[in-house]
Every structure is written in C-alpha cells, then in structure tokens.
C-alpha cells in the first residue's frame, strides 16, 4: 500500500478556460499555501541537513565521512542493498510473470500477501526475525549449536531489509504487465520461441523502464531502512551498523556535524533516486500510451 504512492503522474501545462478556474487572487493564494506547506514540511528539513553538515566547514565534513566507522557503515549498507535488491528483483519479475500472464484461483489473495510488508511496522519486520533466529527464538538453539549467527549480524540485517523492500519491484511490474497482456509473448511462442528467449527478447524490452523504476525505489528504501534494521542489528560499531544506524549513534553522542554529514550522503541518494524516477516516468508514460 505504501508503494501505491508511486503512481506515475504527468503534469499538464495548459491554462484552463476562465470560467473553469478560480479568480486570480484565489489561485495565487492556493499556490502560496501549497508552496509554503511543501517549503516548511519538506524543503526546510533538507536545508537543515545541508547546513548542519557543513556547519564546521568542508574539511570537517570530509573528515566525518572518512571516519573508519562511517566507511564500515557505508560498506555494510552497500553489501545489504547488493544482496536484497537483486533477490527482490528476481522475485518481483517471477511474481509479475505468474500473476499477469496466467489465470489461476487465489490471484487476489496472492497480490494482497505480496503487499503485506507495506502494512507492517518496520519494527515488527525486524522483530519477526528475532523470534525466528534470536537466542530465545525457534531456531536460536540450533544456530548456536552450529556456531551460526543470523540476528545481530549481517544476515539478519539483509533479511530485515529484504522483508521491508519485498513488494517494491512486483508492485511496479504488476499494473504494467497486466496492461500489456499476453499477445506479444503468445505470438513469439507460436513462432517457436522458447521460454527464456521469449522473456529476454519480448517481455524485458516492454517492461524495462517499469523494472528500473521498481529497482531504484527498492534500492533507496534498502539503503535507508532504519526501524527494521535497528531491531536486528545489535548496534556494534564498525560491524553491524548501516548508514542510518550510524547517523543515530553519532546523533545520540552529540556529534551533530558528523551525524548530519553522513545524513547528507543518504539525502543525496534520495535526490538522485527521485531525479532518475522523474526521467523514467516520461519514458514509462510513453511506453504505456504506446500499448
């Protein structure tokens, strides 16, 4: 459901006829209210991150990012995303193929279940893995006997991230592939094309922008997830800290400048994500109209 907010929108720039719009003062007032709201609620926090990050100058900023713990956090964040995002992408494509290209009973239920992680509080997304793999959990004793660690270690962080970002790719592909139907693939198959070949030559070119769209949103969330990861991480500096967790530790230690410096990295990721998203949306709108 949270993914439902990523609807592709196109902005029209035509002026409306006079009798179908509001008087000029009302228009200006509404625009002012909208800008003020977005300004205070969205832009002000972003400015704060930048100003606080550079409060002690450029060299302090670079210093904060070069800190070994920050680098370790960056590495763990990248590793986590590098595992979680491809797996969720493969899942998203497989699920979308099964759901949109075939008829079967229980389809609506399956779609609802895929959406579930959006409805679950991040804290619970972490908690469920503690219950499975923690010392008191179902598999806890077995893991301990075999000297394996899942929670309070990297595997737990990856699992919690996978849970939280689970629906992203599937969510983007489902409406797109539903709209595209099965004609292209059926034509290819009737001409003798094999399964994988049909997918790579026919389906993939049709869905590439939607797929990319889902992947970058999935990635942004994977790198930025805080609540779920916080529950399973164990907060060991330099070992089980991701970037968002590192921000928290620095902040709680009153190292505000360093904290905001690391935060500015993640903000940059968010901005890049949205810029790419904007670029893809144009292509996506065109590929949808082309159908």
């Amino acid at each position: 459901m949270a993914g439902a907010v990523t609807t592709v929108t196109t902005l029209s720039n035509e002026a409306r006829p006079k009798h179908l719009t509001e008087p000029r003062p009302v228009r200006y007032l509404l625009i002012a209210v909208a800008l003020l709201f977005i300004g205070i609620v969205v832009v002000l926090p972003m400015l704060t991150v930048l100003l606080e990050a550079f409060r002690k100058g450029w060299s302090a900023y670079i210093e904060a990012l070069k800190d070994p713990d920050a680098m370790a956090a960056l590495r763990l964040t990248l590793i986590t995303a590098l595992i979680a995002v491809p797996l969720n992408t493969i899942f998203g494509v497989a699920a979308a193929w099964a759901i949109t290209k075939f008829k079967f009973r229980g389809k609506n239920l399956l779609v609802t279940l895929i959406d579930l992680p959006f409805a679950v509080s991040p804290v619970i997304s972490g908690l469920v893995y503690i219950l499975l793999f923690g010392a008191q959990g179902f598999f806890g004793p077995w893991l301990m006997d075999h000297d394996m660690k899942i929670v309070f270690a990297t595997p737990g962080i990856v699992l919690a991230t996978m849970f939280v970002t689970f629906p992203f790719v599937a969510r983007e592909l489902l409406p797109l592939m539903e709209a595209q139907g099965v004609q292209d693939e059926e034509a290819a198959v009737s001409l003798g094309s094999k399964g994988w070949r049909t997918f790579f030559k026919v389906t993939l070119p049709n869905i590439k922008w939607g797929l990319l769209y889902g992947i970058i949103l999935c990635n942004a969330r994977a790198m930025g997830e805080f609540g779920a990861v916080s529950v399973v991480s164990g907060h060991i500096r330099g070992e089980t800290n991701t970037l968002p967790l590192h921000i928290e530790i620095l902040y709680n230690e009153y190292q505000y400048t360093s904290s905001f410096a690391v935060a500015s990295l993640l903000m940059l990721l968010a901005i890049i994500t949205l810029v790419i998203k904007g670029l893809i949306e144009g292509k996506l709108a065109r590929s949808r109209h082309g159908q």
């Binding site: 929108t9 196109t10 228009r27 509404l30 209210v33 977005i38 503690i130 499975l132 916080s230 902040y251």
Partner: protein
C-alpha cells in the same frame, strides 16, 4: 522451466515462476509473520490481555493513534491543495514541487528524524520562534505529529492527483453555465468525486503513521505514558528481554494495520471503479 500446456495460456513458465513466488513469499514474509502469531499463542489469554491492556501500553496506543490521526488530517487538507495546484494551475517550478512531494518517501526516516528534531528543538529555527509563545514541539506529542505530517505528505497528494486529472470538465462546465459560483461548483460537483481518494489518502497516511519509527524516535523524547509510541515500546520490551510482551503488543499493532489495509483495499477498488466508469 516446464511449459504447462494444460493451462489456458500458451505461455511457459507458470510452474517455475509460481513456485518461486510462493516459496520466496513464504520464506521471507509468511513464515516469519506466522512465527509472531505462534509466539503469542504461547501466552495464556489472561496473560496476553494483561500485557496489551497495561497502562503503559494503552498510553502508547493513544499517543500513536492520536498523533497519526491528526497528522493524516493535516495532510488531507494541505495534500488536497497541493494536488489541486499541481494539476490545475501553472506556475514556475511546478515540476520541482511535484518531485519534492516524493521526498518523504525517498528520504531515509532517520535523516528526517534528526533534521526535524533540530528544527523544532527549543533552540532550532522554528522551535526558537515558538518557544516564547509557550509552544513546545520537540519532545511532545506535537513533535510526533510534525514528524508524521512529513512522512504522510506523498500519500494524500498522490492518491488525489490522478483522480483530479481524470475528472471530466463537462460537469464543471454545465455547473458554470448554469451560473453556479466556483465555490458551489467545487462543493457540489468536484468534492464528491474527491472524497474517496481523500479518504484513501487519509487511511494510507494514518496506517503509515501508526507503524512509523525512524522519523519519530528522535523528536518524541520517548517519555513513557506521554510521548512513547507503540513501535518504540515494542523495541523497549525487546531490549528488556520481555520477548512475549513485545510480541503480544506487536500482534495488536499488526492487527490494527491489517484492518486498515482491508479498509484501504476496499476504498481503492471503489475509487478505481468510479474512475473507470467516469
């Protein structure tokens, strides 16, 4: 990848993709969530009831539900205005404003949390202005609401925007020709069409707000009974090794979320039907 030609579809790969989907879904989502239910089932009913209705837990539901409710309400009002302005008016920087709407969705919650706290703390940009007036934002329920307003921005805007775009001009046109004033046209002709997406947006923002953790935990101050949200209480119980208590509270939170998901899905189907029939 066995081609399943008994199915109606001539396409291959059903068994393979379906099998993988169900397996992966079960391993990552369903089995872990089932574990939560099984763990709670280990409690007797009175134990469960005492846990989820203890004073501190009840206070946390109250804080979570009320702040999420008011934040979603604020987002309905301003989200409608933002969506309206984006769809219907021309102004410089419109594309940028449209992009900014998605920031709360893309910005990691911890980043939002520390930024909002430093803005609304008594010595922050806005906190400094409000402090002399006796208004405290950071470390109060008002601060939690502010964080949840930030988190909820995209939900209302992005549910109202497509509906507003699809609305036909004809009804508006005839209302105008019949001499209806703009405000009356809005109330009688446009608003009824916008109510379903507004409620959906509200429910989405509300649901997200109840479970939200990262952006809230910095600004809330986390005082038991006063500014302690339910997700934080779950973490506190976990840190005290009160696993079954944490699980019981989590189950209640989960049930609230699922109930909301059901409402949202019904609403969205309703809106989509109206959109298609329009």
């Amino acid at each position: 990848m066995a081609a399943n030609r008994k199915r109606k579809s001539a396409l291959p790969g059903f068994r393979f993709t379906m099998g993988f989907t169900v397996l992966y879904l079960s391993l990552i989502v369903l089995i872990p969530l089932a574990g939560l239910v099984v763990k709670t089932a280990g409690l007797t009913l009175p134990q469960f009831w005492d846990t989820v209705t203890s004073q501190r837990v009840l206070a946390s539901y109250r804080v979570s539900l009320l702040t999420a409710f008011f934040a979603a309400l604020v987002n309905v009002a301003f989200g409608l205005i933002v969506a309206w302005v984006l769809v219907r008016y021309r102004f410089p920087g419109k594309k940028i404003v449209d992009g900014l709407v998605d920031i709360p969705f893309a910005l990691p919650t911890a980043v939002a949390g520390i930024a909002l706290t430093s803005i609304y703390a008594p010595n922050g940009w806005i906190g400094k202005l409000l402090d002399p007036l006796g208004i405290k934002v950071a470390y109060t329920p008002l601060g939690i609401t502010v964080a949840l307003i930030f988190i909820g921005v995209p939900f209302v805007v992005r549910t109202v925007q497509p509906v507003l775009q699809e609305l036909e001009n004809e009804m508006e046109e005839s209302a105008a020709l019949l001499g209806a004033y703009r405000w009356r046209t809005f109330r009688k002709v446009l608003l009824p069409e916008l109510v379903p997406p507004l409620i959906t947006g509200f429910a989405l923002a509300f649901a997200r707000g109840i479970g939200e953790y990262g952006s809230v935990v910095f600004i809330s101050g986390n005082m038991p009974l006063k500014t302690e949200i339910t997700p934080l209480l779950i973490i506190t119980k976990l840190e005290q090794y009160e696993y079954s208590q944490a699980t019981a509270i989590a189950l209640v939170l989960l049930l609230i979320s699922f109930a909301l998901l059901l409402v949202i899905n019904t609403l969205q189907r309703w809106t989509n039907r109206r959109l298609r029939s329009a």
